[in-house]
């Protein structure tokens, strides 16, 4: 162990020959490069005026790191190579820090100190020393990350501010954070609880300040620890709480304050307990805060908020249980309380029909409270911007002038009813939104192109009536847990997807025309396909939780048809010259290929069995090629299996077949005009016997 002093002004750390001495202002020497056992000093004898030390080459080692000013001017701490500090770090006010390298503190004994003297770091900071302990002598701020992997941090009543890189202590050896009255402040996300084993937090009087977390942050995963005070700001979907086990996160006080945006939301990883006051203040009645269960939790899973005192304004809830001594009667709170379903123990603002009324032409905004009334035609007194439990009503008295445009700009509403509306308003959708009741459009409105996704999240039964309007690229998602959305007439939107995540979608007897039908997640979900025609790609690449009730529907697959494990009634391949058919587990009653527009290639996934009741094609002479592909659409090395169910034969013609196994025997006829591409089994490359049941359509 020795002291090492920087001398001779500007230079690279690794240049010991010219810059490292064994005494203050002493002669440098090649053998003086600091080791992890040496204390390093930049002092008044390091130079007479401004100078720069550049952290270069390989990771720099030292025990204590101490910066002091030169005789005049300041030191510039530069470079980007990592440093490992095995002792304490002391900076001084005025130090110019351009250095961006990672700094690791790896002491294995306690009593080390961190003094930053107001110097803001931009470094990824890691504390990782088994048995190590560091005390903060003053407030500390880094624009990089702040990670505790091993050892003990004593905030000593100071504010430790990570301003962008995130705070992490999910993994590591035994480690602890003692707050005292200190504050741990994060702007880049925090993860303390993924695996809380080994991490101890003492924060009875401290503050966890997460008010700077915003849309770009992913997590406020703070484990099952106890915090004195926790401050949260206008999060945008930040997942909050304890992601490591079922034990709730506990707070003395939890204060969530919204910002002037319509998308503030918190997704709860776990239950939370607030022994004091739980405060949730949305910014305003239109910039509301949504608190709900975490998006990857099983759909509908409730989170319980137990609170001693409850203070809420301008907020909506979904899958939340209100508990504790505090009053969860939120029926008369400022801005109203929104019920997005799945809640219990909370009394919400009473639902009401809100009637739109505007008398002048021009652009109007949904979120303008003055446009809503409790009675038709501007009667009944002032209404409110519809809450998730309200019905937004546009009736014959709503639109007082032609050329009125209504811009929908709220992320949630209950039901929407345009029945009987007059003066042909234009209804534009500027934000994606969730709706919790029925939507009834009218042919008396104009529905322009919109990229807004509409998600049905109601937990009851609702109806969607499009009144002949195409939703113009506004995708439809169904995530309603145990609810059902049923079509009241045909549904169409443009070149965007239809996603079924949970709950039931029932097409009843109507057509559905969308770009692609997919499912998402593992929650239980049911697709009742009804008796209409689905013009779409079906892309159920995973059948997890999915039940498909084909009923008497017809699917006109415009591209791929990935049927998951469902059964289908009639599937038709029409449009594309090459289509991929992946399907397993059940039966398709009728499969029809139309090649009237040109030769067609139909690919079946190798190794899968396709049980098909009727397999038919058009009566034309364009060749249909049947072949196998692997899962990814690449070249197959084995065959698929076609199984004709229900008896009879498959009398085809103008077929080219390869890597295809067809059963039962004497059933599959490729016709007199055929190509045997090889690797086939069971196919008969001849015409079907006279009297066979031809199924040309």
């Amino acid at each position: 162990m020795a002291d090492r002093f920087w001398v001779a002004g500007s230079g690279n750390w690794s240049d010991a020959t010219n810059h490292w001495a064994t005494s203050s202002g002493g002669a440098p020497g090649a053998g003086n490069l600091p080791t992890s056992a040496d204390d390093v000093f930049f002092d008044s004898a390091s130079h007479t005026t401004d100078y720069t030390v550049t952290i270069d080459a390989t990771t720099k080692l030292m025990r204590d790191l101490t910066f002091a000013a030169p005789a005049s001017g300041n030191v510039t701490w530069a470079g980007s190579v990592a440093m490992t500090v095995s002792g304490s770090m002391t900076l001084y006010a005025g130090l110019v820090r351009t250095y961006t390298g990672a700094i690791t503190f790896n002491a294995t004994t306690t009593g080390k100190t961190i003094t930053s003297a107001g110097v803001t770091l931009a470094n990824n900071i890691t504390f990782n020393g088994v048995g190590g302990g560091w005390i903060f002598n003053d407030d500390f701020k880094t624009n990089g990350s702040f990670t505790l992997t091993g050892g003990a941090l004593d905030l000593n009543g100071k504010t430790i501010w990570e301003n962008g890189g995130g705070i992490g202590s999910s993994f590591g050896s035994t480690r602890s954070i003692v707050f005292g009255t200190g504050t741990l402040k994060s702007a880049g996300g925090i993860s303390l609880g993924l695996i809380s084993t080994g991490l101890t937090i003492s924060c009875a009087s401290g503050t966890l300040d997460l008010s700077l977390l915003s849309n770009g942050n992913t997590n406020a995963n703070i484990g099952n620890h106890t915090f004195g005070t926790c401050l949260c700001g206008g999060f945008g979907g930040v997942r909050f709480g304890n992601n490591s086990d079922t034990t709730p996160t506990t707070f003395g006080a939890l204060t969530i304050t919204g910002s002037a945006t319509k998308t503030n939301s918190i997704e709860l990883y776990s239950n939370i307990v607030v022994t004091g006051t739980f405060t949730l203040n949305g910014n305003s009645s239109i910039n509301r805060y949504l608190i709900k269960n975490q998006v990857f939790a099983t759909a509908g899973t409730q989170r319980t908020i137990t609170a001693g005192t409850v203070v809420v304004t301008n907020a909506d809830f979904q899958d939340i249980v209100g508990a504790g001594a505090g009053s969860w009667n939120l029926s008369a709170i400022t801005g109203g309380s929104g019920d997005c379903g799945g809640n219990s123990g909370i009394t919400f603002t009473t639902p009401a029909t809100q009637y739109w009324f505007t008398s002048t032409t021009g652009s109007k905004t949904w979120s303008t409270a003055g446009n809503w009334f409790l009675g038709t035609g501007g009667t009944g007194g002032a209404g409110r911007v519809p809450l998730p439990q309200d019905t937004a009503r546009f009736d014959a008295s709503s639109i007082g002038a032609a050329s009125t445009t209504i811009t929908h700009d709220m992320p949630r509403f209950g039901s929407l009813d345009f029945t009987g509306v007059t003066n042909t308003p234009t209804f534009t959708q500027s934000v994606s939104y969730s709706f919790f009741g029925s939507i009834i459009l009218s042919s008396g409105i104009t529905l322009p192109n919109s990229a807004a996704t509409k998600t049905y999240e109601g937990r009851g039964s609702a109806t969607l009536i499009s009144a002949g309007l195409n939703w113009n690229n506004s995708a439809l998602a169904i995530n309603c847990v145990n609810g059902t959305l049923t079509l009241g007439d045909a549904y169409a939107h443009g070149n965007v997807g239809f996603v079924l995540s949970s709950g039931t979608f029932d097409a009843d007897g109507f057509n559905v025309s969308v770009q692609q039908v997919t499912s998402s997640g593992t929650a239980s979900k049911t697709l009742n396909m009804g008796s209409g025609t689905w013009t779409a790609n079906i892309s159920f690449t995973s059948s997890s939780g999915l039940t498909v009730n084909a009923e008497t529907s017809t699917v006109r697959a415009t591209g791929t048809f990935f049927g998951g494990g469902g059964s289908y009634n009639r599937v038709e391949f029409y449009t594309a010259s090459s289509q991929f058919f992946r399907f397993f587990g059940a039966t398709i009653n009728e499969f029809y290929i139309d090649a009237s527009a040109g030769a067609k290639i139909v690919s079946f996934q190798e190794g899968l069995t396709y049980n098909i009741g009727q397999f038919t094609r058009d009566a034309g002479t364009n060749v249909i090629t049947i072949r196998s592909l692997d899962f990814n659409g690449g070249t197959a090395t084995s065959s698929h299996n076609l199984v004709k169910t229900g008896g009879g034969v498959v009398p085809l013609n103008y077929m080219s077949v390869s890597r295809s196994t067809a059963t039962p025997s004497n059933t599959w006829y490729a016709g007199n005009n055929n190509t045997d591409g090889g690797n086939n089994s069971g196919w008969l490359f001849t015409g079907a016997p006279s009297g066979g049941m031809f199924m040309f359509l």
Partner: protein
């Protein structure tokens, strides 16, 4: 919902190219008697035409994801990583537990010896 009582007319039309079209029209009960069959048929035809146009409409170019969409995608990925890491630890714990049982068994065997 709607306080206006309506008549629903379900209908099925067939397009030679695109197949069967199933839809419904809604009319207010009040005044329905004044609507002629020709008017109803015209609306049916309009729906069918609109459906065909929607199917045949040229597909727009793929739209690049917005920053918000990318951020949400990132959120989903990170959450998935978290979940997987959690599972890894759980599995590791089970492995350790299994190893300890093996050790116990070995010790038992040694005791027997």
């Amino acid at each position: 919902m709607s306080e206006i009582r309506q008549v629903q007319i379900r209908f099925v039309e067939t397009d030679a190219t695109h197949g069967v079209y199933s839809d419904a029209l809604y009319f207010p009960l009040e005044g329905f008697e004044s609507i002629t069959q020709a008017e109803i048929d015209a609306q049916k035809q309009a729906r069918l035409t609109s459906w065909v146009e929607a199917i045949e409409a040229p597909k727009p170019e793929p739209v690049e994801k917005t920053k918000e969409e990318l951020e949400f995608e990132k959120l989903e990925m990170v959450a998935l990583i978290d979940e997987l890491q959690k599972r890894v630890v759980e599995v590791e714990a089970k492995i350790v537990e299994a190893d300890s049982k093996v050790v116990d068994e070995v010790i038992d065997v040694e005791v027997v010896k």
